[in-house]
């Protein structure tokens, strides 16, 4: 196991900058997820770590050793690809042992390693098959087996689950997490699926346009997004952004809310908004912070209950999503399925702003920090 340091890495093709100075450091045994929309540079960064693409500027260190100009095979890393990239002419066993063979590991040791990996991933019965005879999930396992066989210092996963169907994807996600707990390996994992990112990562790097927008634990990123992009990207359903005017009541800045009546929401860190009184900002409020009135929360400092008009309800089983319109923005609320809400009704909803965040409406910059 090894730590990984990415030090001011830049990459450009001609005038197009793909990576604009990436700085990430992860500890040995850590599970880092690179997440972002397509074209954000996450795959380029992954290829740069692997050595499959040269960086224009900056350094990459694995186990405190500068590998920026080391060839891929000497970096001691293994990679799992989106398409699995299994060698079509070789059996599963040959696929798993190819890397060992290239490193001149003796036959007996290779056979032992094949058995170990096959048992770990429960693919012992598939060892003599060719990739074409395997199902998608089995191929996925073989691809992981190939990476595990070499016991490298660093594992790279490039969207490994995106070719699987939904059910299998969830299963393999859990499997990867278990495997990481069991083996304690250092993993860099690229995905565009924010649920995968939340569930798997020790830390997440949210990327956009070749820059890391935020690097932090899943909870940090969920609760405390650095900017509008991160706030909107992470979480499902997405965070609500309510355009809201900052008004002063008794010298304290509050956020104006126009639902069935006009009210003002208190804010945990009002001093940070002093400079914006009279301006319209974006109030970020997660759906689970707008609920049916809950008696135990009644009277808490940052809780306000007001009537809203129901536009649509979406029962999801555990919760029912209520869609409403506040300050001319569509708002998602998460309520108890037992709460009687019908389209067209005006019902009371409880707004909890204890975890609310505020962004500049134009630049998307976080204002309350």
């Amino acid at each position: 196991m090894a730590n990984l340091t990415i030090d001011n890495v830049k990459k450009s093709y001609g005038k197009t900058e793909i990576l604009k100075g990436i700085n990430i450091a992860i500890e040995a045994g850590e599970f880092l997820i690179l997440v972002g929309p397509s074209g954000c540079g996450k795959s380029t960064l992954m290829n740069s770590i692997a050595g499959l693409e040269d960086v224009t500027e900056g350094r990459i260190l694995i186990a405190d050793k500068d590998v920026t100009y080391t060839s891929p095979k000497d970096r001691d890393i293994a990679m799992v690809f989106q398409s699995y990239a299994l060698y079509p002419n070789m059996t599963v066993a040959q696929n798993i042992s190819f890397g060992l063979e290239m490193r001149k590991v003796p036959k007996e040791e290779r056979d032992v390693e094949i058995q170990r990996v096959a048992e770990l991933l429960q693919i012992s019965h598939l060892l003599d098959r060719k990739p074409a005879q395997l199902s998608g999930g089995q191929r996925q396992r073989v691809a992981m087996g190939r990476a595990l066989a070499r016991r490298p210092q660093l594992y790279l996963f490039d969207e490994p689950l995106s070719n699987l169907d939904a059910k299998l994807r969830v299963e393999m996600r859990t499997e990867i997490k278990k495997l990481h707990k069991k083996l304690g390996t250092t993993i860099v994992y690229v995905t565009h699926d924010q649920i995968e990112a939340m569930t798997l990562a020790d830390r997440i790097a949210v990327m956009k346009d070749g820059e890391v927008q935020q690097l932090g634990t899943p909870q940090e990123i969920y609760d405390n997004p650095a900017n509008l992009f991160v706030a909107g990207f992470m979480g499902s359903p997405a965070m609500n952004f309510i355009p809201s005017k900052i008004v002063e009541q008794n010298g304290v800045p509050m956020l104006e809310l126009n639902a069935s009546e006009t009210t003002a929401l208190p804010f945990p860190n009002p001093d940070s908004l002093k400079a914006y009184v009279g301006e319209t900002v974006l109030l970020g409020l997660r759906p689970e912070m707008i609920t049916e009135p809950q008696p135990h929360k009644e009277g808490q400092a940052f809780v306000v209950t007001t009537g809203v008009e129901v536009e649509v309800t979406e029962p999801m089983g555990a919760d029912t999503m209520i869609l409403t319109r506040i300050n001319d923005a569509e708002i998602n609320c998460r309520s108890n399925p037992a709460y009687p809400a019908k389209p067209g009704d005006v019902i009371n909803m409880m707004f909890d702003t204890s975890k609310a965040v505020v962004f500049d409406a134009k630049s998307g910059r976080r204002l309350d920090v």
């Binding site: 990679m79 690809f81 079509p88 191929r139």
Partner: protein, 294 residues
């Protein structure tokens, strides 16, 4: 489906149309095969019958004398050993030329598809141009080049020419085939520690059988049937069978021996026919099958 079949049986119009269709097909096929039939029956007649009979009349009894003569004793120019020495010459040219141009094409295609470099598309475009150059244009420069290399009028020289002009096509074949191989396969192998040639030999070549068959058939046919390069660049000793056939037909003492000419022509065409018969189905399959699924 079943109803359809029953309906077809009862319809007289359908039947008539079907008969007309087959009649047309047979007519066209017959027309197309006529030259071959004439060649075969003429080659089996003796000289007397050729002179007296009509073109399509069958031989009264089958002679193979003219085949024997064409093979071993007919005169091509001043020597009278039949076409057999030239037949061997052709093999000496075709086998190395096919092998080398196929190997080079495979490596070129591998590089252009899977190891892209700055300007690799331009390189490929330039190479592709080679497929469209009429060979007459390059005769003189090539003659000078061969002379300069010291391999003019030799088998080696002919092999060289065929390799140079074959590589454009073989590269095109392999490049198109390798386009369907995912680049991630190469990346995975590089991370596994395999180098350029190891990847080619262990991973790419084993999935290339269909395109190798296509390329070999194509190149074999092209080079075997070549007359222009053969007549322009061969020496007296290295003439391919196509040139010898021409000489044989043009050499006559007294009457023209059409039966011998025909026999020689059939012999000269046999190898390509045999290749098609045995590997033809792979040819069609290889041209249509592109995807290598991982």
């Amino acid at each position: 489906m079943k109803n359809n079949v029953v309906g077809r049986k009862t319809s007289g119009v359908d039947k008539a149309l079907r008969i007309a269709l087959y009649a047309t097909l047979i007519l066209v096929a017959g027309f197309y095969l006529m030259p071959l039939v004439v060649m075969l029956i003429t080659s089996m007649k003796d000289a007397e019958e050729v002179r007296n009979g009509t073109l399509l009349s069958l031989p009264s009894y089958i002679h193979f004398d003219s085949w024997e003569k064409a093979w071993s004793s007919a005169c091509t120019g001043s020597s009278c050993h039949g076409i057999s020495p030239y037949f061997m010459n052709s093999f000496k040219i075709v086998i190395p030329a096919v092998a080398i141009s196929t190997i080079l094409g495979a490596i070129n295609g591998y590089v252009i598809s899977l190891w892209r470099f700055r300007g690799s598309n331009l390189f490929f475009a330039a190479l592709l141009l080679g497929c469209f150059i009429p060979f007459q244009v390059v005769l003189l420069p090539m003659a000078r080049t061969l002379g300069w290399l010291g391999i003019a009028s030799s088998t080696t020289g002919l092999v060289f020419v065929h390799v140079v002009y074959g590589v454009a096509f073989t590269t095109l074949f392999f490049r198109n085939f390798y386009q369907s191989i995912p680049g991630e396969l190469i990346k995975a192998a590089r991370l596994d520690g395999a180098g350029f040639f190891t990847i080619f030999y262990r991973i790419i070549l084993p999935v290339s059988t269909p395109i190798i068959v296509v390329t070999v058939i194509w190149q074999f046919t092209q080079i075997w049937n070549d007359f222009l390069f053969g007549v322009a660049f061969s020496g007296f000793e290295s003439q391919p069978v196509t040139v010898a056939l021409n000489n044989l037909v043009n050499t006559s003492f007294g009457g023209k021996e059409y039966n011998v000419d025909m026999a020689a022509a059939v012999i000269a065409a046999l190898p390509t026919l045999i290749v098609y018969v045995f590997a033809g189905k792979y040819f069609v399959r290889g041209l249509t099958a592109g995807a290598v699924k991982g």
